[in-house]
């Protein structure tokens, strides 16, 4: 085995790319859960975003339109879940699981004739001088625009949730929908908006996967990324800043195991592919061991159906 073939700089650069789809989806789900809704359909919305973004980018030749269309389609399928749970009072867990199944099936159907095509390339930015700096240049200034967007989005969501009135209302709805309703806030409308935002973020994450990370369309290509994103929301105790840590930790383990495989580590690759998931489970178990702390951060109305009692 030759560990020296693993370059730390390359590792960090590629872990950021590997983490971005999960980070985007996790940020969207974080906002949804803060409003008191548990949407387990992240995986389904991601793969719809992946296939729709891919089709749009291939058809128009513009990766930007691909991202936009991926986000719109993610938001569109999330509305199925939203109408079911907010207006028809369907169970959120069952509806979310249904959305995942539906999304995987629909994406396979839509993407049938797009397998094996290469999408238009989405290049990394290049700032003269800065991007050419050793080490720092590649880690700080050498990414594609979506990575910077995901970091800006993290900050934006943190600012929205903690510093603005809109964010306060959103948290209030997730904390106690009955009290928010009694004060005259439109619980269902706020939750619909949050779900749509979550869908758009998941769609964007999916589009990043098919347009930049892989970049190809393949059936079932999200491979559980949506579930990891859900786990990261809990791991982050519903705090945007910690979601970055969670996503990068997962991305880091993913990239590292690929590098170790390439370096010829004498362990079956099957075990190595398991490590990101194992690491996630271990971290979640450690987090969950402190119930008291966790339940302080969890939105108190999470997953509960709201019946307006007028």
């Amino acid at each position: 085995m030759d560990l020296s073939s693993i370059s730390p700089v390359t590792l960090i650069v590629s872990l950021m790319a590997a983490s971005t789809p999960i980070l985007l989806a996790a940020l969207g789900e974080l906002v949804v859960e803060k409003s008191g809704v548990l949407n387990l359909g992240v995986e389904g919305m991601m793969i719809i975003g992946a296939v729709c973004g891919f089709i749009a980018a291939v058809t128009t030749g513009s990766p930007w339109l691909g991202f936009l269309f991926g986000a719109i389609c993610g938001a569109a399928v999330s509305m199925i879940f939203a109408v079911l749970t907010q207006y028809l009072m369907a169970n959120q867990v069952a509806s979310g699981l249904g959305l995942t199944m539906f999304g995987l099936g629909l994406a396979a159907l839509l993407g049938h004739s797009y397998t094996g095509i290469n999408p238009p390339s989405f290049s990394q930015i290049h700032i003269p001088v800065l991007s050419d700096l050793p080490v720092v240049g590649r880690i700080v200034f050498g990414h594609d625009p979506m990575i910077y967007f995901s970091l800006a989005l993290t900050f934006g969501i943190w600012y929205f949730l903690t510093r603005t009135r809109g964010g306060l209302v959103l948290r209030a709805v997730g904390e106690s929908h009955d009290a928010a309703h009694a004060l005259g806030y439109k619980v269902i409308r706020i939750r619909m908006l949050a779900i749509a935002f979550g869908g758009a973020c998941a769609g964007l994450g999916g589009a990043y996967l098919s347009l930049v990370r892989v970049p190809q369309w393949a059936e079932g290509m999200t491979a559980g990324a949506g579930w990891i994103a859900l786990a990261i929301v809990v791991f982050a105790s519903w705090k945007p800043g910690r979601a970055i840590i969670g996503a990068y930790l997962f991305g880091g383990v993913t990239v590292l195991q690929l590098n170790l495989q390439a370096a010829g580590l004498a362990i079956s690759p099957a075990y190595l592919s398991m490590t990101p998931y194992l690491a996630t489970i271990i971290v979640l178990v450690i987090m969950a061991s402190d119930k008291k702390r966790q339940s302080l951060n969890a939105p108190a109305s999470l997953g509960k159906t709201f019946f307006a009692s007028t």
């Binding site: 948290r171 209030a172 904390e175 009955d178 009290a179 009694a182 004060l183 005259g184 951060n297 108190a300």
Partner: protein, 503 residues
């Protein structure tokens, strides 16, 4: 002088029930007006119409002589109507300032708001720290948050729905002081309560509702609580007669019971010790959130403790679960009817089975004996006058009072040696409450020990033989209930230990 608020002909019907039927009355500026009535009399619906949460089917409201028809709470607030809710509309995980900002339509910046909160709370003697988390506040402090939130909007009419149900007597005094000051400044107050003594103290006029209709008006200071209660209920009331108390043998002994609370906003039990005798009704007073829920959980067996901490008829049972304790004769009825004492979506028969199976032998080798279970449920319904079409109806379809009669009846029918109840008459109307108290006294008379945890001091004074106060997870010394004054209890509830002086 034009009345501040004039209501006439207000009617609101829901499927199957007319909540308000042609209701009308007036409130003058600077008047404290009481709205009296049992649960289900239509008080809440009326208030929701005034606050814009519900729209009347017909009828008219006038504010300052102008037509007033708020279509949402925001419109009502803009017109000068503010409301303090019965079940606090607060968010536990948010700070005081955030909670107040949520209730205002044009909330200033956080810092400016915090300053405003401090100045208003100072002016009205309502101490409040804007940065604290609401989940850490006592019930009295939470209510202050609601009141300050209302006051920051300079209301003309302040609506208060059951404001004192969770307060200590001292906190009630502070509240009344604030209300008087507001009244003197010209604010009108619509005061909803079924605590008649309070209404006599604070209210200028009263309107009495029964089954959605106005059945009378009165000047509370010229009435007695009894005459007002009878107007509310429509019949004469009988109060339970206390029998002389002779302590029997010790049935339940609790020694240095410790229980860390699992709820982040709960209170841990610290060194709780007492003994309960045959024939004794022990009343445990205290403001909500001082360890009442934890005490019930520890006694019922839902939370296990050190095995020696709890002794039932000579056997240590601290580490034994609920079914073991039930078989040994210790039964419990928790405070929360729906979701804790009863499973809301299950039928009364199924609910009867849930706590009754062990002691009533309703199962045979793991199979349910449905016929016997149904008979058990029917017997409870009959004996405890539970108004329901039948035992196959879901628990949640019953009104609060009827479900409470069922829940308490289910335990009493199993002939316990020791019965522990938490808030047995919370949110229950006067006639059902009297029935439940009578049943508890009868059980004690037959030689059982009864532990009643309650925040309703009048209730405890009425039925307990002995008395203790739970404050911040500690239980005061148990003393005889005769000769204890409300003031003394109030001090204990606030956490002041006056045991030595009184003993």
């Amino acid at each position: 002088m034009t009345p501040l608020l004039h209501l006439s002909g207000l009617t609101k019907a829901y499927p199957g029930v007319v909540a308000n039927d042609n209701v009308g009355f007036e409130i003058a500026p600077g008047e404290v007006h009481a709205l009296l009535g049992e649960n289900g009399a239509g008080k809440s619906t009326l208030v929701k119409m005034i606050y814009g949460l519900v729209r009347p089917d017909s009828g008219e409201m006038r504010l300052h002589g102008q037509p007033f028809a708020p279509h949402e709470p925001r419109a009502a607030r803009a017109a000068g109507v503010a409301m303090v809710f019965q079940h606090f509309s607060l968010f536990e995980a948010l700070s005081v300032a955030e909670n107040i900002a949520l209730g205002m339509d044009d909330a200033p910046e956080t810092d400016a708001l915090s300053d405003e909160i401090r100045s208003v709370s100072k002016k009205y003697g309502l101490t409040l720290d804007p940065d604290r988390m609401v989940g850490d506040l006592s019930a009295g402090e939470r209510q202050r948050v609601e009141i300050v939130r209302c006051l920051l909007q300079n209301p003309k009419l302040l609506v208060m729905d059951e404001p004192t149900s969770v307060l200590t007597p001292q906190e009630v005094d502070v509240l009344f002081e604030t209300l008087r000051r507001l009244r003197d400044e010209g604010t009108s107050i619509l005061y909803i309560s079924h605590k008649l003594e309070e209404i006599r103290t604070i209210c200028d006029n009263a309107t009495i509702l029964r089954l959605g209709k106005v059945v009378g008006t009165c000047v509370p200071s010229e009435e007695t609580p009894r005459t007002m209660a009878e107007m509310m209920v429509g019949t004469e009331l009988k109060s339970p007669t206390k029998r002389p108390y002779k302590p029997g043998r010790v049935l339940l002994e609790v020694k240095n019971l410790q229980l860390p609370s699992k709820d982040p906003f709960g209170t841990s039990l610290r060194d709780v010790s007492f003994s309960l005798h045959a024939g004794e009704v022990l009343g445990v007073a205290g403001v909500a959130g001082n360890g009442q829920d934890e005490l019930l959980l520890a006694l019922s067996g839902e939370e296990l403790t050190d095995t020696a901490a709890i002794t039932l008829k000579g056997a240590t049972i601290g580490s034994k679960g609920p079914n073991h304790r039930r078989l040994q004769g210790l039964l419990a009825a928790p405070e929360e009817r729906l979701g804790h004492a009863a499973a809301p979506d299950m039928s009364l028969t199924e609910n009867a089975l849930l706590t009754g199976h062990a002691r009533q032998r309703l199962t045979n080798k793991g199979f349910v004996k449905w016929q016997a279970t149904q008979n058990f449920a029917r017997a409870i319904i009959q004996k405890f006058d539970v108004r329901t079409p039948g035992a196959s109806h879901a628990a949640k379809s019953l009104s609060g009072g009827n479900l409470q009669k069922f829940v308490i009846g289910r335990e009493i029918m199993q002939r316990p040696d020791v019965l522990v109840v938490n808030q047995p008459t919370w949110g229950v109307d006067a006639s059902a409450a009297a029935f439940i108290r009578e049943a508890l006294l009868e059980l004690a008379e037959q030689g059982a020990g009864v532990l009643v945890i309650s925040q309703d001091l009048d209730e405890l004074m009425e039925i307990s033989d002995t008395f203790a106060v739970l404050a911040e997870g500690r239980l005061s010394r148990v003393r005889s209930a005769s000769g204890v004054t409300i003031e003394e209890i109030g001090l204990l509830m606030g956490g002041t230990e006056v045991d030595h002086a009184a003993a």
